[in-house]
C-alpha cells in the first residue's frame, strides 16, 4: 500500500491554477524528491500534504487513511523547514518536546525520545541552549530532531539545505540519507537542487507548471528523460539538443540534422512510440557521453564529427568544450589535457555512442 497517495489534486490561487488534476503514489519507506524550478508547484504540493494549505479538489491519503480534511497535527507527519523554524524562545529540548506534549505523550517516553534523537543527531550537548546560540548546521540538526522525535511514518523536508554553505550541505545530505537508510520512514523532500535529488532519492518526481513531468528513479530520470523539460532541467550542463528530421536510409531509421546534415543512425534505438520518416524530432545527448580527441577514433557504433571549439570552460578535473555546430553550440565534456592542448577555433574530433542518444518529438516534447 502506498504510504502517500495524491488523487486528482487541484489547487488554485485566485484564478491561477497552480496544480491541476495531479496524481502521485509514494511507496512506504521511499525517499521521494520533488524536483523542479521555483514556481513549479512542488512546495505547494508539500504544503497540501502537510495540511498547511487546503486542496480545492481531490484527495490525499496517508497510510490508506484519507487526511484531506484533517488538521496538520492529525495527519501523522513531521516537517523540516527551509528556515528551520525553531521556536526562538524555547530551548532545544523545548523545541523537541513541544510537538510531543501536544500529543499526550508521557513525560518518560518524551524524554526517552528526545534523548534518542539528540544522540542520533549528536546534539545531546546542546539541549539546554536557545536556537540563537546555535550554528546553522546545529539548527538544521535540531529541526530534523524535532521531526524525528514524533516517530511518525512520513517526514517532509522543504528545501532543508538551501540555507547552508556548500560544505555543510554535502555533509547534511549524507546524514539525511543515512538517517533514512536507518529509519526507513517515508520521506518527501522538496528541492530545486538536482544534486540533492540525484544523490538521495529512491525516486524523483520532476515537476513543472504544476504537472509531474516524470516520476522514476534518478538513473532513469537522467538516462531516459521522459520529455524535453526533464532532459533540459536535469543534468549540468543541460542535455544537448539538435533539431532533426527522421529519415529512412536503406531500410534503417535515421535522424538527420536539419542544418548540418549530421546523420544519427537510430537502428539500435528502443522506440517507445512509432515514428515515420519526415517527423520533426529533437535528438538529445549528454556532454559526458562523448569521447574526444585521440580516443574518438577507436570506438565502434558511434557518430563522429569534427567541429571547431568555441571555448573551453575549465572545471579542474575536466572541462566542457563548446563545439560550434551550424545549428547551435553543443557541450562536450573532455579531459582537462585536451582543454590545455587545444586552442579556440581549432577543430576537435568527437565520437558519440549511439546507444546514449535520446529522441524527442519536436512538437509534443515527448520521448519517442
Amino acid at each position: 500500500m502506498p504510504a502517500v497517495q495524491f488523487r486528482n489534486i487541484v489547487k488554485h490561487y485566485g484564478n491561477l491554477a497552480v496544480i491541476e488534476n495531479l496524481d502521485l503514489d509514494i511507496g512506504d519507506g521511499e525517499f521521494v524528491v520533488l524536483l523542479g524550478p521555483s514556481g513549479c508547484g512542488k512546495t505547494t504540493l508539500l504544503n497540501l500534504l502537510a495540511g498547511l494549505i487546503e486542496v480545492d479538489g481531490g484527495a490525499i491519503s496517508i497510510d490508506g487513511r484519507d487526511v484531506t480534511d484533517l488538521d496538520p497535527k492529525d495527519r501523522g507527519l513531521a516537517m523540516v523547514f527551509q528556515s528551520y523554524a525553531l521556536y526562538p524562545t524555547k530551548t532545544v529540548r523545548g523545541n523537541l518536546a513541544f510537538g510531543l506534549s501536544a500529543r499526550n505523550i508521557s513525560r518518560d517516553e518524551s524524554e526517552r525520545r528526545i534523548d534518542w534523537a539528540a544522540r542520533l543527531l549528536r546534539i545531546d550537548h546542546l539541549l539546554d541552549r536557545k536556537p540563537a546560540q546555535l550554528s546553522g548546521g546545529q539548527r538544521q540538526r535540531v529541526a530534523i530532531g524535532r521531526a524525528l522525535v514524533k516517530q511518525v511514518g512520513v517526514c517532509l523536508y522543504d528545501e532543508p539545505l538551501s540555507n547552508l554553505d556548500a560544505k555543510l550541505r554535502t555533509e547534511m545530505r549524507m546524514e539525511i540519507k543515512k538517517l533514512h537508510d536507518q529509519l526507513r520512514n517515508t520521506v518527501v523532500y522538496v528541492t530545486h537542487d538536482q544534486v540533492e535529488a540525484m544523490t538521495m532519492a529512491t525516486r524523483i518526481a520532476v515537476m513543472d507548471k504544476g504537472v509531474i513531468q516524470q516520476f522514476s528513479s534518478p538513473a532513469e530520470i537522467y538516462d531516459e528523460p521522459e520529455n524535453l523539460f526533464v532532459a533540459d532541467f536535469v543534468g549540468s550542463p543541460s542535455m544537448n539538443m539538435l533539431d532533426c528530421e527522421i529519415g529512412d536510409a536503406n531500410g534503417s531509421i535515421t535522424a538527420v540534422d536539419s542544418v548540418d546534415k549530421l546523420v544519427f543512425d537510430l537502428d539500435g534505438y528502443s522506440w517507445r512510440r512509432p515514428v515515420e520518416p519526415g517527423r520533426q524530432v529533437k535528438v538529445g545527448f549528454r556532454a559526458e557521453h562523448f569521447q574526444a580527441g585521440g580516443d574518438a577514433s577507436s570506438a565502434g557504433k558511434h557518430v563522429r564529427f569534427e567541429r571547431p571549439v568555441e571555448y573551453f570552460e575549465k572545471h579542474g578535473p575536466d572541462a566542457i568544450a563548446f563545439l560550434s555546430l551550424p545549428q547551435k553550440a553543443i557541450a562536450v565534456r573532455v579531459d582537462s589535457r585536451i582543454a590545455d592542448s587545444y586552442r579556440s577555433g581549432q577543430p576537435l574530433l568527437t565520437a558519440l555512442p549511439l546507444e546514449k542518444i535520446n529522441v524527442f518529438d519536436a512538437s509534443s516534447g515527448r520521448r519517442l
Binding site: 495540511g51 498547511l52 496538520p72 528556515s83 523554524a85 524562545t89 524555547k90
Partner: protein
Amino acid sequence: MSQPSAALDRVAVAPRARPRRRALRPSRIAAFAFLCVAALLFCVPLYVVVVTSFKSMDEIRLGRTFDLPHVWTLDAWTSAWGQACSGLSCGGVSVGFVNSMWILIPSLVLSIAFAMVTGYAASLWRVKWANGFLFALFICSFVPFQIIMYPLIRATAVLSVYGTTFGVALIHVVLSMPILTLIFRNYFMSIPQELIAAAMIDSGSFWRIFFEIVLPMSGNILIVALILMVTGVWNDFLVGLTFGAQGAQPMTVILNNIALTTTGGNNYATDMAAALMTAAPPLIIYLLLGKFFVQGVTAGAIKG
C-alpha cells in the same frame, strides 16, 4: 503600510554606517546650532512651569516668569496634591490620581489581552473573513468619538457602569481595540510563516500556540502597546469627562477643574504643580522607555 516596529528595530540595532568624524564644516555647525536652539525653545514651557510651581504666590506676582525661585517652596505641591479645590470638593489631584489608576489598570489588562488575541486569531489563523474584518477595524480606528458618544453613554447606563471608573476603563478598551489590534496584527505578520506552520504541525492548538510560542515572542510589542495605552488612557480627558461622573473623574478632569476654579483667588503655583503631577507618570515612562514610545506613537499612526 510599512512595518514600523521592524523598521525602527533595524534603525536601533544598526545605525547607518557613518564615516569617521571629519573637520566640522560651517553647514554642520549651523545645523547643530539650529537643533540646539529649537531644543531650548521646546524646553522653555516646561521650565517655566517647573520654576513657577516652586514659587510662592507673592513671588509670582512680581512677574519674573523666567527667574528661578528666590525661595523654593513646596507649598504649591502639597496643596495641589491634597487641598486644591476642583469645583466644590477640595481634595487636590490625589483624588484624580487614584481614579486614574483605577481606570488605567483594568483598561490596560483588558485592552491588551483583547487586542492581542484578536490580532493573533486574525493574522496567524486561517479565517476567511479576517482581512475584511481588519479593514473594518482600520476604518473604525479613525471614527471620531463624538459619533458614538451617545450610544456609548446609553450602553454604559444599561450595564450600570456609567459614572464608575470601571465604566471609563471599559470605554477605553472598546475605543482602543481597533488600533491596538492592528498594531498586534502587524507585529504577528512579521513572524516567519514557517514558524507558525511548524507550530501547526506540532500542536495545532489555538491557545497552546498562543501561550507557548507567540506570547513569549511578543515582549517588545507588548511594551509598545503598554506604553501607548498608558499614555493614551492617562492623558485622556474627553472619555473621563463623559463617563466618569463625580467621584470617578480621572486626574486630567480634576486638573482642569482646579485650573478653572477661582474661588479664593487663583493660585498659579498650585495649578502648575497639579499640572506637573498629572503629566509626571507618562513623562517618566517616556523618559525611561523612549524608544518604545517612539515605536508606539508611529505604529499607532501608521497601520493597515
